[in-house]
Symmetry: C2
Subunit: 198 residues, 2 copies
Protein backbone atom coordinates (compact mmCIF):
# COMPACT_ATOMS: atom_id res chain seq x y z
CA UNK A 1 0.00 0.00 0.00
CA UNK A 2 0.99 3.57 -0.60
CA UNK A 3 0.53 5.04 2.89
CA UNK A 4 3.39 4.30 5.29
CA UNK A 5 1.01 4.48 8.25
CA UNK A 6 -1.33 1.87 6.80
CA UNK A 7 1.66 -0.25 5.81
CA UNK A 8 3.02 -0.10 9.35
CA UNK A 9 -0.34 -1.11 10.81
CA UNK A 10 -0.65 -4.03 8.38
CA UNK A 11 2.81 -5.21 9.33
CA UNK A 12 2.19 -4.87 13.07
CA UNK A 13 -1.02 -6.89 12.77
CA UNK A 14 0.55 -9.53 10.52
CA UNK A 15 2.99 -10.37 13.33
CA UNK A 16 0.16 -11.48 15.62
CA UNK A 17 -0.20 -15.24 15.92
CA UNK A 18 -2.96 -16.44 13.64
CA UNK A 19 -2.80 -13.45 11.31
CA UNK A 20 -0.72 -13.67 8.14
CA UNK A 21 -0.11 -10.80 5.69
CA UNK A 22 -3.37 -11.48 3.84
CA UNK A 23 -5.62 -11.59 6.88
CA UNK A 24 -3.77 -8.57 8.32
CA UNK A 25 -4.69 -6.60 5.19
CA UNK A 26 -8.32 -7.65 5.56
CA UNK A 27 -8.23 -6.69 9.24
CA UNK A 28 -6.83 -3.25 8.36
CA UNK A 29 -9.55 -2.72 5.76
CA UNK A 30 -12.13 -3.82 8.30
CA UNK A 31 -10.73 -1.30 10.79
CA UNK A 32 -10.48 1.69 8.47
CA UNK A 33 -13.95 1.13 7.08
CA UNK A 34 -15.28 1.14 10.64
CA UNK A 35 -13.37 3.99 12.22
CA UNK A 36 -15.84 4.63 15.03
CA UNK A 37 -17.07 1.11 15.72
CA UNK A 38 -13.88 -0.92 15.28
CA UNK A 39 -10.72 1.17 14.97
CA UNK A 40 -11.36 3.59 17.82
CA UNK A 41 -12.46 0.88 20.32
CA UNK A 42 -9.45 -1.28 19.49
CA UNK A 43 -7.15 1.71 19.89
CA UNK A 44 -8.69 2.60 23.26
CA UNK A 45 -8.46 -1.00 24.46
CA UNK A 46 -4.82 -1.33 23.41
CA UNK A 47 -3.89 1.99 25.00
CA UNK A 48 -5.58 1.05 28.28
CA UNK A 49 -3.76 -2.27 28.43
CA UNK A 50 -0.43 -0.79 27.36
CA UNK A 51 -0.69 1.90 30.02
CA UNK A 52 -1.52 -0.40 32.91
CA UNK A 53 0.15 -3.69 32.08
CA UNK A 54 1.86 -5.30 35.07
CA UNK A 55 3.31 -8.63 36.11
CA UNK A 56 1.88 -9.80 39.42
CA UNK A 57 4.60 -9.82 42.07
CA UNK A 58 2.92 -12.74 43.83
CA UNK A 59 1.98 -15.23 41.12
CA UNK A 60 3.58 -14.01 37.90
CA UNK A 61 0.25 -13.49 36.10
CA UNK A 62 0.08 -10.59 33.68
CA UNK A 63 -2.73 -8.19 34.45
CA UNK A 64 -3.50 -4.50 34.69
CA UNK A 65 -2.99 -4.49 38.44
CA UNK A 66 -0.24 -5.79 40.75
CA UNK A 67 -1.13 -7.92 42.68
CA UNK A 68 -3.37 -9.35 39.99
CA UNK A 69 -7.14 -9.75 40.20
CA UNK A 70 -6.80 -13.46 40.99
CA UNK A 71 -4.41 -12.94 43.92
CA UNK A 72 -6.69 -10.29 45.43
CA UNK A 73 -9.98 -12.13 44.87
CA UNK A 74 -11.28 -13.07 48.37
CA UNK A 75 -13.63 -15.69 46.90
CA UNK A 76 -10.71 -17.79 45.78
CA UNK A 77 -9.38 -20.54 47.98
CA UNK A 78 -5.85 -19.48 48.93
CA UNK A 79 -5.14 -22.96 50.36
CA UNK A 80 -5.06 -24.44 46.87
CA UNK A 81 -2.21 -23.41 44.60
CA UNK A 82 -2.02 -24.39 40.94
CA UNK A 83 1.48 -24.23 39.40
CA UNK A 84 1.64 -23.63 35.63
CA UNK A 85 4.44 -23.15 33.14
CA UNK A 86 3.20 -20.02 31.41
CA UNK A 87 0.67 -17.21 31.80
CA UNK A 88 -1.20 -18.74 28.84
CA UNK A 89 -1.78 -21.89 30.89
CA UNK A 90 -3.10 -19.88 33.82
CA UNK A 91 -5.54 -18.18 31.46
CA UNK A 92 -6.60 -21.50 29.98
CA UNK A 93 -7.45 -22.89 33.41
CA UNK A 94 -8.99 -19.66 34.63
CA UNK A 95 -11.05 -19.09 31.49
CA UNK A 96 -13.54 -21.80 32.29
CA UNK A 97 -13.41 -21.09 36.04
CA UNK A 98 -12.06 -24.61 36.37
CA UNK A 99 -9.80 -23.94 39.31
CA UNK A 100 -11.13 -22.06 42.33
CA UNK A 101 -7.74 -21.53 44.00
CA UNK A 102 -4.74 -19.37 43.18
CA UNK A 103 -1.93 -19.78 40.71
CA UNK A 104 1.83 -19.69 40.39
CA UNK A 105 3.50 -19.09 37.04
CA UNK A 106 6.93 -20.67 36.64
CA UNK A 107 7.78 -18.78 33.47
CA UNK A 108 8.80 -21.91 31.57
CA UNK A 109 9.83 -25.51 32.11
CA UNK A 110 13.13 -27.22 32.84
CA UNK A 111 14.93 -28.02 29.62
CA UNK A 112 18.39 -29.52 29.17
CA UNK A 113 18.10 -28.79 25.46
CA UNK A 114 17.34 -25.11 25.90
CA UNK A 115 19.53 -24.78 28.98
CA UNK A 116 16.66 -23.85 31.30
CA UNK A 117 17.68 -24.65 34.89
CA UNK A 118 15.69 -24.46 38.16
CA UNK A 119 17.12 -21.04 38.97
CA UNK A 120 15.75 -19.72 35.66
CA UNK A 121 12.18 -20.43 36.78
CA UNK A 122 10.12 -18.92 39.61
CA UNK A 123 10.70 -22.00 41.79
CA UNK A 124 12.23 -20.27 44.81
CA UNK A 125 9.30 -17.87 44.86
CA UNK A 126 6.95 -20.88 44.80
CA UNK A 127 8.74 -22.55 47.72
CA UNK A 128 8.62 -19.30 49.69
CA UNK A 129 4.85 -19.08 49.10
CA UNK A 130 4.43 -22.64 50.37
CA UNK A 131 6.79 -22.07 53.30
CA UNK A 132 4.85 -18.95 54.33
CA UNK A 133 1.98 -21.32 55.15
CA UNK A 134 -1.73 -21.34 54.43
CA UNK A 135 -1.33 -23.69 51.47
CA UNK A 136 -2.83 -27.19 51.77
CA UNK A 137 -2.52 -28.43 48.20
CA UNK A 138 -0.18 -27.75 45.34
CA UNK A 139 -1.54 -28.80 41.94
CA UNK A 140 1.22 -29.29 39.39
CA UNK A 141 -0.42 -28.37 36.08
CA UNK A 142 2.54 -28.80 33.78
CA UNK A 143 2.12 -29.63 30.10
CA UNK A 144 2.01 -33.35 29.28
CA UNK A 145 5.34 -33.04 27.51
CA UNK A 146 8.63 -34.64 28.52
CA UNK A 147 9.94 -31.32 29.78
CA UNK A 148 6.70 -30.49 31.56
CA UNK A 149 6.68 -33.82 33.37
CA UNK A 150 10.37 -33.52 34.26
CA UNK A 151 9.58 -30.16 35.76
CA UNK A 152 6.62 -31.60 37.69
CA UNK A 153 8.79 -34.36 39.18
CA UNK A 154 11.50 -31.91 40.10
CA UNK A 155 8.93 -29.67 41.81
CA UNK A 156 7.35 -32.60 43.65
CA UNK A 157 10.74 -33.47 45.14
CA UNK A 158 11.42 -29.90 46.19
CA UNK A 159 7.97 -29.55 47.78
CA UNK A 160 8.16 -32.93 49.59
CA UNK A 161 9.55 -31.40 52.78
CA UNK A 162 6.48 -29.20 53.24
CA UNK A 163 3.26 -30.48 54.88
CA UNK A 164 1.17 -30.04 51.73
CA UNK A 165 -0.60 -32.42 49.40
CA UNK A 166 1.05 -32.42 45.96
CA UNK A 167 -1.14 -33.47 43.03
CA UNK A 168 -0.84 -33.33 39.31
CA UNK A 169 -3.33 -33.18 36.48
CA UNK A 170 -4.67 -36.60 35.55
CA UNK A 171 -3.13 -38.10 32.48
CA UNK A 172 -6.19 -37.86 30.39
CA UNK A 173 -4.17 -35.19 28.63
CA UNK A 174 -3.15 -36.33 25.17
CA UNK A 175 0.56 -37.13 24.97
CA UNK A 176 2.49 -34.07 23.80
CA UNK A 177 -0.58 -31.93 24.37
CA UNK A 178 -0.17 -28.37 25.55
CA UNK A 179 -2.68 -27.02 28.05
CA UNK A 180 -3.43 -23.88 26.19
CA UNK A 181 -4.63 -25.80 23.14
CA UNK A 182 -6.99 -28.18 24.91
CA UNK A 183 -10.74 -27.85 25.07
CA UNK A 184 -12.35 -27.10 28.38
CA UNK A 185 -13.92 -30.53 28.73
CA UNK A 186 -10.54 -32.26 28.58
CA UNK A 187 -9.09 -29.77 31.02
CA UNK A 188 -11.99 -30.18 33.42
CA UNK A 189 -11.72 -33.97 33.39
CA UNK A 190 -7.97 -33.90 33.91
CA UNK A 191 -8.43 -31.53 36.82
CA UNK A 192 -11.21 -33.58 38.43
CA UNK A 193 -9.12 -36.76 38.25
CA UNK A 194 -5.98 -35.14 39.61
CA UNK A 195 -4.02 -37.52 41.83
CA UNK A 196 -1.15 -37.41 44.31
CA UNK A 197 2.29 -37.46 42.77
CA UNK A 198 3.65 -40.99 43.29
CA UNK B 1 -10.16 -12.92 32.22
CA UNK B 2 -10.31 -10.89 35.34
CA UNK B 3 -9.05 -7.54 34.09
CA UNK B 4 -11.68 -5.48 32.28
CA UNK B 5 -9.00 -3.81 30.16
CA UNK B 6 -7.61 -7.13 28.94
CA UNK B 7 -11.15 -8.40 28.39
CA UNK B 8 -11.98 -5.36 26.30
CA UNK B 9 -8.86 -5.80 24.20
CA UNK B 10 -9.61 -9.48 23.62
CA UNK B 11 -13.13 -8.61 22.53
CA UNK B 12 -12.00 -5.82 20.22
CA UNK B 13 -9.49 -8.15 18.55
CA UNK B 14 -11.94 -11.04 18.31
CA UNK B 15 -14.16 -8.88 16.09
CA UNK B 16 -11.48 -8.62 13.42
CA UNK B 17 -12.07 -10.86 10.39
CA UNK B 18 -9.99 -14.01 10.71
CA UNK B 19 -9.66 -13.79 14.50
CA UNK B 20 -12.10 -15.70 16.68
CA UNK B 21 -12.24 -15.55 20.49
CA UNK B 22 -9.50 -18.18 20.84
CA UNK B 23 -6.99 -16.59 18.49
CA UNK B 24 -7.82 -13.18 19.95
CA UNK B 25 -6.80 -14.49 23.38
CA UNK B 26 -3.54 -15.80 21.95
CA UNK B 27 -2.94 -12.48 20.21
CA UNK B 28 -3.51 -10.63 23.50
CA UNK B 29 -1.07 -12.91 25.30
CA UNK B 30 1.44 -12.40 22.49
CA UNK B 31 1.05 -8.64 22.86
CA UNK B 32 1.29 -8.41 26.63
CA UNK B 33 4.30 -10.68 26.74
CA UNK B 34 6.01 -8.40 24.22
CA UNK B 35 5.12 -4.97 25.48
CA UNK B 36 7.99 -3.15 23.79
CA UNK B 37 8.33 -5.17 20.60
CA UNK B 38 4.70 -5.92 19.76
CA UNK B 39 2.17 -4.04 21.88
CA UNK B 40 3.76 -0.58 21.68
CA UNK B 41 4.41 -0.73 17.90
CA UNK B 42 0.85 -1.90 17.21
CA UNK B 43 -0.51 0.87 19.42
CA UNK B 44 1.59 3.49 17.62
CA UNK B 45 0.58 2.17 14.19
CA UNK B 46 -3.12 2.15 15.10
CA UNK B 47 -2.96 5.64 16.59
CA UNK B 48 -1.21 7.01 13.50
CA UNK B 49 -3.80 5.52 11.19
CA UNK B 50 -6.73 6.52 13.38
CA UNK B 51 -5.46 10.10 13.55
CA UNK B 52 -4.95 10.56 9.83
CA UNK B 53 -7.52 8.33 8.18
CA UNK B 54 -9.25 9.97 5.24
CA UNK B 55 -11.41 9.00 2.27
CA UNK B 56 -9.97 10.36 -0.96
CA UNK B 57 -12.31 13.00 -2.37
CA UNK B 58 -11.28 12.06 -5.91
CA UNK B 59 -11.33 8.27 -6.09
CA UNK B 60 -12.88 7.03 -2.83
CA UNK B 61 -9.75 5.19 -1.68
CA UNK B 62 -9.08 5.17 2.05
CA UNK B 63 -5.67 6.53 2.93
CA UNK B 64 -3.94 8.82 5.42
CA UNK B 65 -4.02 11.73 2.96
CA UNK B 66 -6.76 13.32 0.83
CA UNK B 67 -6.23 13.18 -2.12
CA UNK B 68 -4.77 9.73 -1.68
CA UNK B 69 -1.25 8.68 -2.59
CA UNK B 70 -2.46 7.03 -5.79
CA UNK B 71 -4.29 10.12 -7.05
CA UNK B 72 -1.25 12.31 -6.39
CA UNK B 73 1.36 9.92 -7.80
CA UNK B 74 2.72 11.60 -10.97
CA UNK B 75 4.13 8.29 -12.24
CA UNK B 76 0.64 6.89 -12.67
CA UNK B 77 -1.13 7.16 -16.00
CA UNK B 78 -4.12 9.41 -15.39
CA UNK B 79 -5.56 8.48 -18.80
CA UNK B 80 -6.40 4.99 -17.57
CA UNK B 81 -9.10 4.67 -14.92
CA UNK B 82 -9.93 1.40 -13.19
CA UNK B 83 -13.39 1.24 -11.59
CA UNK B 84 -13.80 -1.13 -8.64
CA UNK B 85 -16.62 -1.97 -6.28
CA UNK B 86 -14.78 -1.63 -2.98
CA UNK B 87 -11.59 -0.23 -1.49
CA UNK B 88 -10.51 -3.83 -0.88
CA UNK B 89 -10.57 -4.42 -4.64
CA UNK B 90 -8.46 -1.33 -5.28
CA UNK B 91 -5.95 -2.63 -2.78
CA UNK B 92 -5.94 -6.08 -4.36
CA UNK B 93 -5.13 -4.63 -7.78
CA UNK B 94 -2.67 -2.09 -6.42
CA UNK B 95 -0.90 -4.59 -4.16
CA UNK B 96 0.88 -6.33 -7.00
CA UNK B 97 1.35 -3.06 -8.96
CA UNK B 98 -0.84 -4.68 -11.60
CA UNK B 99 -2.52 -1.51 -12.81
CA UNK B 100 -0.43 1.58 -13.58
CA UNK B 101 -3.36 4.00 -13.85
CA UNK B 102 -5.76 5.49 -11.33
CA UNK B 103 -8.85 4.11 -9.64
CA UNK B 104 -12.44 4.89 -8.87
CA UNK B 105 -14.24 3.20 -5.99
CA UNK B 106 -18.00 2.80 -6.45
CA UNK B 107 -18.65 1.85 -2.84
CA UNK B 108 -20.65 -1.27 -3.74
CA UNK B 109 -22.53 -2.85 -6.62
CA UNK B 110 -26.07 -2.55 -7.95
CA UNK B 111 -28.36 -4.98 -6.19
CA UNK B 112 -32.09 -5.36 -6.54
CA UNK B 113 -32.04 -7.73 -3.59
CA UNK B 114 -30.28 -5.29 -1.25
CA UNK B 115 -31.96 -2.26 -2.76
CA UNK B 116 -28.72 -0.69 -4.00
CA UNK B 117 -29.54 1.73 -6.82
CA UNK B 118 -27.24 3.75 -9.12
CA UNK B 119 -27.61 6.85 -6.94
CA UNK B 120 -26.31 4.88 -3.96
CA UNK B 121 -22.95 4.37 -5.68
CA UNK B 122 -20.28 6.89 -6.72
CA UNK B 123 -21.41 6.73 -10.36
CA UNK B 124 -22.11 10.44 -10.89
CA UNK B 125 -18.65 11.22 -9.54
CA UNK B 126 -17.20 8.71 -12.02
CA UNK B 127 -19.05 10.30 -14.94
CA UNK B 128 -17.86 13.74 -13.87
CA UNK B 129 -14.25 12.50 -13.82
CA UNK B 130 -14.66 11.11 -17.34
CA UNK B 131 -16.45 14.23 -18.54
CA UNK B 132 -13.67 16.44 -17.22
CA UNK B 133 -11.45 14.84 -19.84
CA UNK B 134 -7.96 13.35 -19.86
CA UNK B 135 -9.29 9.79 -19.57
CA UNK B 136 -8.73 7.46 -22.56
CA UNK B 137 -9.73 4.12 -21.07
CA UNK B 138 -12.10 3.02 -18.34
CA UNK B 139 -11.44 -0.49 -17.03
CA UNK B 140 -14.49 -1.99 -15.35
CA UNK B 141 -13.04 -4.26 -12.69
CA UNK B 142 -16.23 -5.52 -11.08
CA UNK B 143 -16.43 -8.85 -9.33
CA UNK B 144 -17.40 -11.81 -11.53
CA UNK B 145 -20.69 -12.10 -9.71
CA UNK B 146 -24.14 -11.52 -11.13
CA UNK B 147 -24.41 -8.18 -9.36
CA UNK B 148 -20.89 -7.17 -10.35
CA UNK B 149 -21.56 -7.90 -14.00
CA UNK B 150 -24.93 -6.13 -13.89
CA UNK B 151 -23.12 -3.11 -12.51
CA UNK B 152 -20.48 -3.32 -15.26
CA UNK B 153 -23.10 -3.41 -17.98
CA UNK B 154 -24.95 -0.52 -16.43
CA UNK B 155 -21.76 1.52 -16.25
CA UNK B 156 -20.80 0.65 -19.83
CA UNK B 157 -24.13 2.09 -21.02
CA UNK B 158 -23.71 5.24 -18.98
CA UNK B 159 -20.16 5.78 -20.26
CA UNK B 160 -21.03 5.05 -23.89
CA UNK B 161 -21.59 8.74 -24.71
CA UNK B 162 -18.04 9.68 -23.80
CA UNK B 163 -15.12 9.24 -26.23
CA UNK B 164 -13.32 6.66 -24.09
CA UNK B 165 -12.52 3.03 -24.54
CA UNK B 166 -14.45 0.89 -22.03
CA UNK B 167 -12.95 -2.47 -21.16
CA UNK B 168 -13.62 -5.07 -18.53
CA UNK B 169 -11.49 -7.71 -16.89
CA UNK B 170 -11.19 -10.86 -18.96
CA UNK B 171 -13.39 -13.66 -17.83
CA UNK B 172 -10.60 -15.82 -16.71
CA UNK B 173 -11.99 -15.00 -13.29
CA UNK B 174 -13.64 -18.01 -11.70
CA UNK B 175 -17.41 -17.71 -11.62
CA UNK B 176 -18.58 -16.17 -8.40
CA UNK B 177 -15.02 -15.22 -7.59
CA UNK B 178 -14.38 -12.02 -5.69
CA UNK B 179 -11.35 -9.95 -6.67
CA UNK B 180 -9.99 -9.55 -3.23
CA UNK B 181 -9.67 -13.32 -2.75
CA UNK B 182 -7.86 -14.11 -6.00
CA UNK B 183 -4.15 -14.72 -6.34
CA UNK B 184 -2.06 -12.20 -8.21
CA UNK B 185 -1.43 -14.50 -11.17
CA UNK B 186 -5.15 -14.82 -11.89
CA UNK B 187 -5.64 -11.09 -11.49
CA UNK B 188 -2.69 -10.31 -13.77
CA UNK B 189 -3.98 -12.60 -16.50
CA UNK B 190 -7.49 -11.24 -16.34
CA UNK B 191 -6.09 -7.72 -16.57
CA UNK B 192 -3.80 -8.52 -19.52
CA UNK B 193 -6.66 -10.09 -21.47
CA UNK B 194 -9.10 -7.30 -20.77
CA UNK B 195 -11.36 -6.61 -23.75
CA UNK B 196 -13.82 -3.96 -24.95
CA UNK B 197 -17.30 -4.24 -23.50
CA UNK B 198 -19.51 -5.68 -26.27
ZN1 LIG C 1 -1.26 -12.76 41.01
ZN1 LIG D 1 -7.54 8.92 -4.59
Amino acid sequence: MASPEIDALTQALSRLPGLGPRSARRAVLHLIKRRETALAPLLRALAAVEERLATCGICGNVDTTDPCAICTDPRRDARSLCVVEEVADLWALDRARLFPGRFHVLGGRLSALEGVRPEDLAIDALLRRIEAGGVDEVVLAMNATLEGQTTAHYLAERIERFPVRVTQLAHGLPVGGELDYLDEGTLAQALRARRPVA
